[in-house]
């Protein structure tokens, strides 16, 4: 299954929910399969990610529209924390790396705090290594927008992390 890892990762960061991301990915692949005849692009990855994005946005919208859906934000936070500890567990557990791993978890939390517009460009650039042109194709925006969003997203990430460190400082001293 081509690009499945990238598709799932992107869907998960868009929806912030693993179960939704699984549904989104399945629907997106069916759509991609149906639309493949109309595919005229050069690279399949941004094209596929664009489909994932469309499906994810619709899923999030539907979820918002359903008036009686209660957001178990605490539950989600818990799940994020689980993901964090899982990710941390996958790290080498050498003592010298413990502090570094701790700092890295903060970067996860910071990414989660970004608005979806900023979050997705970071995911596509830093995790998927897409070029600006490819990102522009995936999110259906001009390259200039990609550039400025990435710049602002990075600045915001850095701010979140600095604030986090400032909060942790008193404990450390």
């Amino acid at each position: 299954m081509p690009h499945l890892v990238a598709a799932f990762n992107y869907a998960r960061w868009l929806t912030k929910n693993e179960a939704d991301a699984e549904d989104v990915v399945q629907d997106a692949y069916v759509r991609a399969f149906r639309a493949f005849a109309g595919f005229r692009g050069v690279s399949a990855k941004p094209w596929l990610l664009a489909i994932v994005r469309n499906v994810a946005y619709r899923a999030v919208q539907n979820r918002k529209r359903a008036a009686n859906v209660i957001f178990f934000s605490e539950d989600l936070k818990h799940r994020d924390r689980e993901a964090v500890s899982e990710a941390a567990a996958a790290e080498p557990s050498a003592e010298s790396l413990v502090l570094a791993a701790d700092a890295r978890q903060q970067v996860l939390a910071a990414l989660g705090k970004l608005s979806v517009d900023y979050r997705e460009v970071i995911v596509l650039r830093e995790l998927e290594g897409l070029t600006y042109n490819e990102i522009a194709e995936a999110i259906d925006a001009p390259v200039g927008t990609v550039m400025s969003r990435l710049s602002r997203a990075r600045a915001e990430l850095r701010e979140h992390l600095e604030r986090q460190i400032a909060k942790d400082e008193p404990n450390a001293v």
């Binding site: 960061w13 978890q105 830093e126 990435l150």
Partner: protein, 249 residues
Amino acid sequence: MQCRDAHEALSALIDDEVALEQQQAAKAHIAGCSLCNEIARDYRRIGEDLRAVARVPLPPDLAHKVRTRLEAEARSLPRLAGFDWRRLAAQAAVLIVVSGLSGLLGWQLSRTAFETRRLERDIVAAHVRSLLQDSTVQVASSQSHAVKPWFNGRVEFAPTVKDLTAEGFPLIGGRLDYIDNRRIAALVYQRRLHVINVFVWPADASNAAPPTPSHLQGYNTLTWTSGGLTYWAISDLNAKELAQLQALL
């Protein structure tokens, strides 16, 4: 280049996506600016940290699930590769017979019947769907002068809205729905515990049509055209009382 402009260029510089003519100026500034240097270092480290921890592991069965969905999808599509000639011949024979028959029976007639059935199915689906929601209405009011203006700008006609509480058909409210490929007005009335949906849209032909009752999946329906609007009333209410509502509207 000023520090503030450099910040903007910094991110693109890290990604090696700065236009050539800007590169020199940006690099020259950053080389001599400790703040910009620090920010660039932070940006790079954030990227490394993200790559180390933020990739979400693939659920082990997802690839299988996707493959199953795609296989089902592939089966539902007409086969292009690997022709099954015998099946194709059989299908062609059936097609010839069917098209000959429908020609004999009158193409227009069967088409109209098909359209009507499709419309009836749409009506039932919209009715049932409305009952599945938390609320059957988007605007809840028994006041016709509150419900009617709500449709302004939402549909391109003004549906007749009447409060029939006194007659035993209290108005619950209205909502938009989608029937027969168009956006239509749905008015919801109640009779005791029965919900009645009245769907309204501009008539295709301007001449009035008398009420025609029908029975579908256990629901009673009544359709009529008056004042250039087509109405469809549907409910699990008995046909007689449904006709009473029609007479009041």
